[in-house]
Symmetry: C2
Subunit: 528 residues, 2 copies
């Protein structure tokens, strides 16, 4: 339950003559009966005019409302009849609209666990299950852009996020393979072994790896297997999705306001001018230091976030477009390079990276189409995992991660009613605790149906107002490759033929230097 009290001030283009007061009084009486109530079922939920006066060129109002016709919306509704009343007859206009001394009272289900703060809100006072928000002023565009309602919604979603946070993850197993971890060639993390043999090489401490020929060959084979067995037969076409995602698209996707702490942000130079950077260059060349702080001073604020989900551009593709449902579904995949997630200190082995490769599979269609596509992608790729990889795994239904990426607060309450699963996770079971997380498993893919969540965020419509849904699947071939090596080891002759057919008679070798790799092919010790 919401109660709002505020003062509104309309600054006029000039002082009105005394007689105008009569006209305004009549108009306000009318508005207070009609426009301030329209759309509200109960009188207490609408807006009520409590007082008003005109002083020189300013019209002051004191308003009070419930939550259905909110006082700030009433202020905006008032602008047209006010302009009509003073326009023709007195040649007077409205110069600006301000609301002041805003007090919002909200009845909560329960007392929140933590303090809450919000921009524009001067004070939030919570006593038991009642919250009072005080704002001093909002003006013109801030009113038109509906800040006040967004502030109330943000406040409420922060409270419910606190609750969600307390709950256990809503993960539910759907099915699992037989036990198989005793078949795995590696019973412990092979990352060090792969480093010693030169299959991979890390940039110092960066969670970013160069993949050398044998590992690359495996990764590309897995990629091609997924394309040939999953995507091509289902009619997916390849597209090239960009990796530098403008801030505005990050915002619409929800990542800017949702998880900015997990993205890498990209700043171009403030000027594309060699001389502008000259002192910095001199400093670098003379001292041999990188001086990142000095570099930062010469950069523009971020223009892009590095692609986090890989599918960002797919949603932007629908931006403000009108869709014809008869042309659906659309089915694409992208393998145009890596995506990035800032894992900070959480990096250890090859299983968790700041920069990693994925096949991103995206689709749009009517509800049934979208669910069917997702289910078939899952089914086909599960078959590869089961029959060719021959690893232990499970499929779970779980919290849709795409909601978390957008702040985790949308679509409350919907979960229970759904007649379908939004997200399936595919998790491989491994015979040791990973270096980066205390667990003996590795999520290797997830399979999503987003409902019309992104279509709404990107303002796409269907021409007959049908609901268009989207979905995506992220395959992580570098994790698949890591998993494959756990199970099948490094002896190429023992790898399954379905993978070898993409590589040929021989696995490409590692270039040898005197000092690298640590273990050479000669002093072999590969078969564990």
């Amino acid at each position: 339950m919401i109660k709002i009290e505020l003062d509104a001030e309309f600054k006029l283009s000039k002082p009105l003559p005394a007689e105008a007061k009569q006209d305004i009084s009549a108009m306000l009486e009318e508005v207070n009966k009609e426009l301030f109530k329209k759309g509200s079922k109960e009188d207490s939920e609408a807006t009520h005019l409590r007082e008003w006066k005109i002083v020189k060129d300013v019209l002051f109002l004191r308003l009070k409302s419930g939550g259905q016709v909110r006082a700030h919306d009433a202020v905006l509704r008032l602008r047209r009849p006010l302009a009509e009343t003073i326009g023709k007859k007195y040649k007077c206009g409205i110069k600006s609209t301000t609301v002041k001394n805003i007090k919002i009272e909200i009845q909560l289900g329960e007392k929140p666990e933590k303090e809450i703060s919000l921009p524009f809100v001067e004070n939030i006072n919570i006593v038991d299950d009642k919250a009072i928000l005080i704002l001093s002023e909002l003006k013109d565009l801030e009113l038109e852009k509906n800040y006040l309602t967004k502030i109330i919604n943000r406040f409420l979603s922060k409270i419910s996020a606190q609750k969600v946070h307390g709950k256990a993850e809503t993960e539910k197993n759907v099915r699992k393979s037989e036990k198989r971890t005793d078949k795995y060639v590696f019973q412990k993390d092979p990352t060090q072994e792969l480093i010693d043999l030169g299959w991979v090489r890390e940039f110092p401490g960066a969670g970013i790896w160069t993949l050398m020929p044998p590992f690359t060959a495996l990764l590309k084979a897995i990629q091609q297997l997924l394309i040939d067995e999953v995507l091509k037969p289902m009619g997916f076409d390849e597209v090239v999705l960009p990796r530098l995602i403008p801030l505005e698209i990050q915002r619409k996707k929800g990542q800017l306001g949702g998880i900015p702490e997990e993205l890498f942000w990209v700043c171009p130079p403030a000027k594309r001018d060699p001389e502008y950077f000259e002192d910095y260059k001199d400093y670098v060349e003379i001292t041999g230091e990188c001086a990142p702080e000095r570099l930062m001073e010469k950069l523009r604020p971020p223009m892009f976030g590095l692609a986090y989900a890989q599918c960002e551009a797919f949603y932007d593709f629908f931006n403000k477009e009108i869709i014809d449902a008869s042309k659906l579904p659309f089915k694409f995949y992208d393998i145009n390079g890596p995506t990035w997630r800032w894992e900070a200190g959480g990096l250890k082995g090859l299983e968790r990276l700041n920069e990693f490769i994925r096949i991103e599979v995206v689709y749009a269609g009517l509800k049934e189409q979208t669910i069917k596509i997702r289910d078939e992608v899952l089914e086909r790729s599960e078959k590869i995992l089961d029959k060719i990889f021959d690893v232990e795994y499970r499929i779970d239904s779980c919290t849709p991660v795409y909601l978390e990426h957008a702040g985790a607060t949308e679509e409350k309450g919907e979960e229970k009613e759904a007649d379908f699963v939004k997200t399936y996770d595919m998790t491989a079971i491994i015979p040791f605790v990973t270096a980066s997380k205390e667990e003996t498993e590795l999520e290797i893919s997830s399979f999503h149906v987003h409902t019309d969540f992104y279509m709404k965020r990107f303002h796409a419509k269907e021409k007959n107002k049908k609901e268009v849904w989207t979905g995506c699947v992220g395959f992580g071939p570098s994790r698949w490759a890591y998993l494959f090596l756990l199970r099948h080891g490094l002896d190429y002759s023992k790898w399954p033929k379905e993978i070898k057919k993409y590589i040929g008679d021989k696995l490409p070798g590692v270039p040898e230097m005197v000092t690298w790799p640590k273990k050479k092919e000669g002093d072999e010790d590969n078969k564990k």
Copy 2:
């Protein structure tokens, strides 16, 4: 010709007794005869002690030198005999070493065109062809890291860069194809046509494009053709080279001190903590604004530059390693996604992008191996351009761009003596002026031999001290695809079979919406 004058101060760990003066005097006399002269052919090029004194715990010296044993190096040379003289007998050590009142006189070939500034240098005074640099102080590590010599070198290379800048580009045609531009299906820029047909779609104003199925199919076909006809037969293996390049590797490669104004810089969040970003997120969600300045306040200084040359990690691969020449050559290629160049306002059509795809080909070997590999890659890819693409082109030998990327100042004078070409450019001739540059041509690939330039920068050695060279070739398949469309047009039935064999019977279509693309397959107008 260089003359240096400076004062040196050795701060000792305690005042010395009067008798020590005798010992120091003897030592200094000896040093001034031997150590200050060693390595210099002429006396005037060595260092000379002019005055000295001890006051309490500080030893003062006044030195003067030419350019061979430079005064600041002499100061460092003095540390050991000084420590020996005062250590055992007086139990005294050196606490710090400082040089002050540094005056460097340099005889120039000619007067520089523009003013020059340098960090640490307080004043640069140039009269005719003589420059005097004044520095007030350098201390300990700054001396050990040889700042003064680097400052002198930087000064000299800035002067010679001014001269190079004035010259015309040293481009020389090697060979060219017959005239063919009248065969081109497009006689004007097809970018708008490709947009209207939905083959490509740009992020608003960003020089970053989503490539839709038909364009992607062409691009991938060209990529595969290059791999099959050029790289595989030559024994190149695929590797995955990272795209987030740490600042230190950018520095070693030369791009940090060379062309920081052309790179995108990547800043991670200052904390990977949702609460740290909470006020920013609230602001974004309530106002609908991206507020890049606010975001920037929450970021760390840049940790990475986005890959500019794509081969950065290849050189780092050799970092401080010892190579065995008998294992050479090494031959790799990478197609792990796009690279990035900040083109600022220079963006117009599909021919110039901020984010673009390349096949990067890298190799290392002895001199002859490296040149031979580069020449064969050129020869094989030229054949494709000539026979399959059937476009007009020319091959030029020209200024090695990799030197420009590292500041353009290394290896002066070498150019003339070379018995080989460092860089070939492959340039296609087109029948119209491009949107981004006033020219009727398009560079589509370049072919480099770097000599041991990068091996030195990354401190790699060969075990028998042989010189190891590197080289690289960048193929831009998106430019190749653009060029292909100019020549062969959009009618798939008329494309050469060597490309079609990678695509199949039908070119994949464009997804259709009511509002996009502007031109549908139905209202065809494709054949120009």
